[in-house]
Structures are given as C-alpha cells and as structure tokens.
C-alpha cells in the first residue's frame, strides 16, 4: 500500500466545469462570478491535446483564480497510452493555468492511438488487473508531471467485471496512494444498473480518500423498454445523485473541491444549485475542521 499524498492539496471549494468553447454557448465563469459573487471558487477545465486551452480558462487563470485540469484523452486503464508527448503537453497546459491537480475519468477515451472522433468513454473493466493497470498509469503521470492525479469513476450504460465500482476505485487508490474523485451522478448510474440503492457500498468505501466530488444532472431515458440514465449535465441532478452527495459530504474528511458540472446551461438555471452545494460544502468543511481540531481529538 502506498502512503497518500493528497493531504497537501489546497482546499478549493465549489467550482464549475468548463470545456473548450463552453463559455461561448453556456456559462462564462468570470461573468457568472461577477453576477453571483462567491458561488464559484474555481474552474475545472476539461480538454485534450488536440483542443488545448481556450480563452475562457486563460482569462480566469490570468485573474489569479484557481483551476484544476480534467484530461479527456488518456486511457488510464491502458498504461501504454500514457506516452511522453501526452505527459509533456498535458503538464504544460495544466501549469499554464496553475491547475492544483489533474483529474479525469479512468477508463477508455479512445481506442488505438490517441485520435479525434472516437465517440466513446468506456468505464474500466471492473477487475483487479484493470485496477492495478490504472494505478500504474496514475503513478507514471504523477512521477512525470509532479502533479497529483485524481481518478474519476466514469459513466456507463453497462459495466463489465465483477467488482463494485467503489471497490475498484478503493483498490486503485490503495495501490497508487492517490486521492479520488467521486462523481455522484456516475455512481448513481452504476447503482441503478446493478439494481442497488444509490448509497450502497459507501460504508465500506474509503471516503477519507475522496478529494473531489462531481455533481451533475442526468436524463432518464428509455431505450426500447430499458431504463438508462444519460450523463447530460443538465441543471437538475437526479434524486439518487443528491442522496449520494448528502451521504458523502459529511464523511469525506479530505474533501478539497466540489464541481457542479453544468457549463453548457443558462446561468439562471444553475444558481440555485450552486447556492445549495456551496452551503453543503461549507457545512461539511466546518464539521470536518471541528472534528480534526485538538479539542475534538481529545474528546
């Protein structure tokens, strides 16, 4: 088991997701912050080598605001995909915006050599071998970039392998010594597909390794009678997602950040949820600080 390093990461608060060009058609974080001060503390910028950084995230970073970098183009489950060019250019992009860490869905973003237009994000195969491969990739990225990596549980309309996805990521974290990014909406999808309650498995999950949470809306869809959830990032999270957020937040003692993934919506559609998430994050942070204070430790 590798000792965790994530305790050194800064506490960022509640942030908003962004992708190349998302501010043009959705939410510009600086404009949103001006209209609604205090709701957005940082931007999590998702991109790939092909698209790089956009003007929106550069402006945000130039204003001295905090960021994280979410990669959209490396297959953590496939260590050979972590090549020198990707490492160099990703680290360069992350450092250009002062990203506090790297994060991204662990699974497959593409097949074969990195390329455009593959149109898939596949969750990892939930086996021990795959978890170890993911841990190997994370260790390689952290060693090469000097940045910590938080693997995220991906969405899916099916999952292969016998492990519960929480057990899979617990293994990854234990093996790589990394913190975790728990996407509550993606977890809700997994639980439904396995016929489990939204919060099933959380009691045995190392919530003290969760550094970042994602919250997003999803669409319930019917494919010829099969009920599935589409990871649409619409404004309103499903009730299952909220149930996971409420269970995890007070128990995630290492939590540093919460991202509301809503970048392509209208600002007025998401203000209410930013307020709700901000209050919940602040309450959880206060409780966490109180429980880790000397007085609390003595008690």
């Amino acid at each position: 088991m590798t000792a965790p390093r994530f305790h050194s990461l800064p506490r960022l608060g509640v942030g908003i997701s962004a992708e190349p060009g998302s501010a043009r058609e959705g939410i510009d974080a600086l404009a949103f912050d001006e209209a609604h001060p205090g709701l957005v503390a940082f931007v999590e910028y998702g991109s790939d080598l092909d698209r790089g950084l956009d003007d929106h995230v550069r402006r945000w970073a130039a204003a001295g605001r905090a960021t994280t970098y979410h990669f959209l183009d490396v297959n953590l489950e496939e260590p050979e995909d972590v090549d020198a060019r990707w490492l160099e250019r990703t680290a360069e992009a992350a450092r250009a915006i002062g990203a506090a860490w790297l994060c991204g869905d662990a699974g497959l973003w593409h097949f074969g050599p990195r390329d455009r237009g593959h149109q898939l994000l596949l969750p990892p195969v939930l086996t021990r071998d795959s978890a170890y491969a993911t841990a190997e990739s994370i260790a390689r990225i952290e060693a090469a970039t000097g940045l910590q990596v938080l693997p995220e549980n991906p969405p899916g309309s099916f999952y292969l392998g016998d492990l519960h996805i929480l057990d899979y990521f617990a293994l990854v974290s234990e093996r790589a010594g990394c913190g975790l990014l728990l996407d509550c909406a993606h977890l809700a999808m997994f639980q439904r597909l396995r016929g489990l309650a939204p919060t099933a498995g959380l009691d045995g999950f190392p919530l003290d390794r969760v550094v970042e949470l994602h919250v997003a809306g999803g669409d319930e869809v019917d494919v010829d009678g099969l009920a599935l959830v589409e990871d649409s990032h619409r404004p309103e999270p499903l009730a299952d997602t909220w149930a996971i957020v409420e269970r995890v937040l007070p128990r995630a003692s290492s939590l540093r950040a919460l991202v509301y993934e809503c970048e392509r919506n209208r600002p007025d559609e998401v203000v209410g949820n930013f307020r709700r998430l901000g209050a919940a994050f602040a309450a959880a942070s206060s409780a966490s600080s109180a429980s880790s204070s000397p007085a609390a430790e003595e008690a």
Partner: protein, 279 residues
C-alpha cells in the same frame, strides 16, 4: 486481459452484427477474452449498446473531415449513408481495433478496398483518396529526432524524415479534391439546403491528365503537399523503409534514373532534411 474485453466492447458498440455474433457464439468469436468477461459480453443487453444512436454518424463526421474529397465522392456515387456505415462492419475497422491501429487509416483502407473491388468507380476517387490517405498518415507519424546522413559512404543507411510520403496520382486529382471541397463549403453554409431541388450540386469534371508527383511534408504540426518532379519522386519511392545508400541508388537506376543524378537528388533531399540518417 481487460483490454481484450474493452476491444470487444468497442467492436460491439459500432457493429451490431458483431454484437449479435458475440451473443450467438462467444467462445468462437472472442477466444482471446477470459471466460468470465466473455460470458458478460455475450449477456450485454443490446439496448444498452444502443444508448448513443448517433455514435456512428459522429465518428463518420470526424473521418469525413479528414477524407473530405473521398467521402464526398463516395457518397455522391453510392447515394447511401449505409455504404459509409459499412466501414464499421469491415475487416479494416475490426483489425484496427484489435491491433491498436488508427481508425482514420482503417477508413482509408476500407475506401481503397471498395475502389479496388469495383464498388466505387468514380473517376479520380482513388487518386483523391491516395492524397488524403498520405496526408492522414503523415499527420500521425510520431516526430523523431534526425541527423544528416553520411552520403560519402555507400553503406550509410537512410530513411525519409518522419511524415514524408511520396504520392503519385492523376493530374486531375487535386482539381477533383478542390471541387469536392467547394461543394462542401457551399452546402455547409446552410445544411438544410441539401433538401432543395435547386441545391448546389457536386460537379467533378476534372480530366485525369498526366501524372502528378506529390510529397507530404510535415512542419509545425501541419502537413503540406509539395509538388515535385518525377526524378525526385523516384528517389523517395526507393526509400519505403530505412536502407543503405547503395541500395537506394541501385533501385533508382532500375527505375531509370542515372546513378549520379540520383545521388545529386539524395544530397538535395538531405540538405532539405527530407532524407535523414537511419539509426
């Protein structure tokens, strides 16, 4: 082992016929996947694979951006989206997944196969495809450090610089490509215009003409197509892989180029860093 299962998932997502075959006979179709995962793949609900119903079309959009001319000429001839979607059922596609190859280059192989088999017969289509495939290949060549070759030693090994590929096509191919691009530009101004009887039509009236010799030259992340003379093209064709200078000159002579002339061209190409030393 998990990656073998992931490759099968990708093939099932893009190719419903393959997914059906996995369901029918998983042991025969997926011998390389471990039994437990193979059983899970065979039991995957077909509807879960169909959640993203635009997956193929979006993949084709990206491929068509890179193969604008060839894809447009193919659609103009076949008048069928299903024809291009056959790519996802082709051996080229499945092989590219299993062998970690490039989907774009597999698409080029699929179209080239259709031309060779007479399923695509539009004049100049194969030439347009040859140009676009060379550019696609050049774009994907990993950069590699290079140094000048020692041309005073016949045993010195040479190679083309990364991303340098010679292409020989009919003279009219570039004009045909430009006509296809012009058509796409006009339709792209207002895609709904494709519904109209008086919409812009694709007109490819370029004559084949003589032979045109081109070379792909990458620089700064972009790829240029450079027109070269036939002699220079001959020399580059003698370098499909690293080989000794003497072998290059011998083959050039067999192709009708005097040794001294070929050596002068090699020197010229080395000075331009088109030909470099092979380690």
């Amino acid at each position: 082992m998990s990656l073998a299962a992931q490759r099968a998932v990708v093939r099932m997502l893009f190719d419903p016929a393959f997914a059906a075959a996995v369901r029918r006979a998983p042991d025969e179709v997926l011998p390389g996947v471990e039994p437990a995962l193979r059983a899970q793949l065979a039991a995957l609900d077909d509807r879960a694979l169909r959640l993203d119903r635009l997956r193929r079309l979006r993949a084709l959009r990206t491929l068509s951006e890179e193969f604008k001319g060839a894809a447009t000429l193919a659609l103009a001839e076949r008048r069928s989206l299903a024809f291009l979607e056959e790519f996802f059922c082709s051996a080229a596609f499945h092989q590219s997944i299993e062998e970690r190859g490039s989907m774009a280059l597999a698409f080029a192989e699929f179209l080239a196969g259709a031309c060779a088999e007479g399923r695509l017969t539009t004049p100049l289509l194969a030439d347009v495809l040859a140009i676009e495939a060379a550019v696609a290949r050049a774009r994907r060549e990993p950069e590699s450090p290079s140094r000048p070759p020692a041309l005073d030693d016949p045993r010195a090994r040479l190679r083309c610089a990364a991303g340098v590929f010679p292409v020989e096509v009919a003279e009219g191919a570039l004009a045909a490509l430009q006509q296809a691009e012009r058509y796409l530009f006009e339709v792209g101004l207002m895609p709904a215009v494709a519904l109209c009887d008086d919409a812009p039509r694709l007109t490819v009236d370029a004559a084949a003409g003589g032979r045109l010799h081109l070379v792909t030259v990458p620089h700064g992340g972009q790829v240029s197509l450079v027109t070269v003379d036939a002699a220079l093209h001959v020399v580059l064709r003698c370098l499909p892989a690293p080989r000794a200078l003497a072998a290059v000159l011998d083959e050039a002579r067999a192709r009708g180029l005097e040794r001294e002339r070929a050596l002068a061209i090699v020197r010229e190409l080395a000075a331009d860093e088109i030909v470099v030393a092979a380690d």
